[in-house]
């Protein structure tokens, strides 16, 4: 690879002049500049990122801290990564994919100690995330996709659960439903203090209250079988519920089976929505489910952009909430006119 010196020789100038010309870091005569640029082009010169980083203390590399895939790991997480990578590239940065091992803190200490990355992007942030605490204490610039319980002045991009729940409730309310239930994420899949689970629960409750419709939660099925059981118990206890929002894809499978087993149909007897699931997944179902699709790419992009902003200058903290997109499928309809009964096949 050709270096600054090669270009300098070819253009008959000093190395520093080449550097200046190429970076615009000080005035260079138009003629000289042209000669230099031509020489650089001819040699296919590319600045060496290592040397530049060593000198400037800025590598323009971001690390995406990648939690070890627990039970569920899907399209959304993929979108975080691709969104962040795209935005990083557009902003002249690179994205390092950094899978966490058993000891995330040690991993972080190592990673940041290398001098390789300028900042860190955190995924799957817990309500009391130790990684965030560590990074803040260590003075390492970082941003979060998701957020801790008390983000303070830390940059983050997260789902707007209030708006999302509002949209969902408005959707079913406008169809005429008077009572909505939520099947939340299972504790097993994500641990107990998982932010999205907690926030979704709170905001759905609030939205339903504000809209003046009934609301039931408490079930947290994490598999098809649990979804079946949960639906049965839900109908036993609250036969008036005509709309159901489910946060776990597999639980939805069970719900659908349970509905069919009763001789009921979707959407005639039950309006079913998927929450935090991509439209691609919703299309796998029959009928195609209405879904509240998380803005994965958008959040990834925002996270990266915020981090780059933070590295450049220091403005006020950027904290952005983005609602899910409601994609209406064929699983939404008006509630059944009369009380439903079991109609075994």
């Amino acid at each position: 690879m050709s270096s600054l010196r090669d270009v300098a020789e070819r253009a008959q100038v000093a190395v520093s002049t080449v550097s200046a010309a190429l970076n615009g870091t000080r005035p260079v005569a138009a003629g000289t500049k042209r000669r230099i640029e031509q020489a650089a082009a001819e040699l296919g010169y590319r600045p060496n990122l290592l040397a530049r980083g060593l000198q400037s203390k800025r590598t323009r590399i971001l690390a995406l801290l990648y939690p070890a895939p627990r039970s569920g790991f899907g399209l959304t997480e993929m979108q975080f990564a691709t969104g962040a990578a795209e935005a990083a590239r557009e902003l002249g940065h690179h994205l390092l994919l950094s899978p966490e091992n058993a000891d995330p803190i040690e991993e972080l200490r190592h990673l940041t100690g290398l001098g390789l990355v300028d900042g860190v992007l955190l995924m799957e942030v817990g309500l009391d995330d130790e990684r965030a605490a560590f990074l803040a204490a260590a003075g390492v610039p970082f941003s979060m996709i998701g957020r801790t319980r008390d983000p303070g002045s830390i940059d983050y991009a997260d789902i707007d659960f209030a708006a999302t729940a509002g949209d969902a409730v408005a959707h079913v309310a406008s169809l005429g439903h008077r009572s909505l239930a939520l099947f939340n994420l299972s504790a097993g899949a994500y641990g107990d203090g998982y932010g999205p689970a907690i926030r979704a629960g709170e905001e759905f409750a609030a939205a339903a209250r504000a809209a003046g419709i009934g609301y039931v939660d408490g079930h947290r099925p994490g598999s098809a079988e649990e979804g079946r059981e949960a639906f049965e118990r839900l109908m036993d206890a609250h036969p008036d519920v005509t709309a159901l929002a489910v946060m776990d894809d597999h639980a939805a499978v069970g719900v659908i089976a349970a509905v069919a087993a009763r001789g009921w149909r979707i959407p005639d007897d039950l309006t079913l929505m998927l929450v935090l699931s991509s439209a691609r997944v919703a299309e796998m179902f029959h009928p195609r489910l209405t879904t509240l699709e998380p803005p994965g790419t958008e959040l990834g992009r925002l996270g990266a952009r915020m981090l780059v902003d933070r590295l450049s200058g220091d403005g006020p903290p950027q904290q952005r909430l983005v609602p899910c997109r409601l994609v209406a499928g064929d699983s939404s309809a008006a509630p059944p006119p009369k009380p439903r009964e079991r109609r075994p096949a």
Copy 2:
């Protein structure tokens, strides 16, 4: 961050001795070595990767060239990335996520010119992949997940389509089926020369021939609607087909609908398999589909490992084929005893 010099001062030795002691690159007296190690530990010294890379011409960073998500982009691609990242970390390397833009070659030229990465990992390799040609010509070490038509001596890890097709055929044959059809990937989704589509087609044909059972292909539905139509046409032309392998998730949705519309049931009237789809997706269906799950993580790991091996020394080319894992679901059964008829509801 503390540097080698800080450690040297603290241990009362020369910088070069510290370097030698820490890297074991030349003999160091036991006592000195202990002093140095202690000083390093006390200062929390971490070698600066940039400086080391600048000097040694090896950054221990791998780039995963990440194609812009086309239509279909799922869990498998995610697994490539996570597998590669994990393996890289275990081997003391880092993984850079590099999304491709409009001009992949220019992107590659840029990336490799930066001196930032030691080698490149290619995903979604085409039969005549220009990126592979470029890298080979440029002398940049790389390995492929997937493979070109003629890989020559390039390292790669790919799906073993022959074994996969063999397993699939054996599965349906052992259930008693005498005729199998394949719905291949649509040309639209992946372009026309997409390796997996072509290899799957060839190998299913060969496996069926070897097993002495009938084989039909030619349909390439890329959506639910196209899947419905394709199934209708298939049944019109080949009413004897009792087993169907589908490579596109969405097409499978249409097939299932078409089967139901005829008043048929899965698996009683049709054995349905998903090919190259993850078990997680297969579980979304009802009944749970039998699937040939691609070894995404494994391939990612292999690709990274091969690349690291190649960077370290140069042995013979490593070319590994890994078969898909057959996960039996509830969509496989013996063929119907009598010819099926339409049984409209």
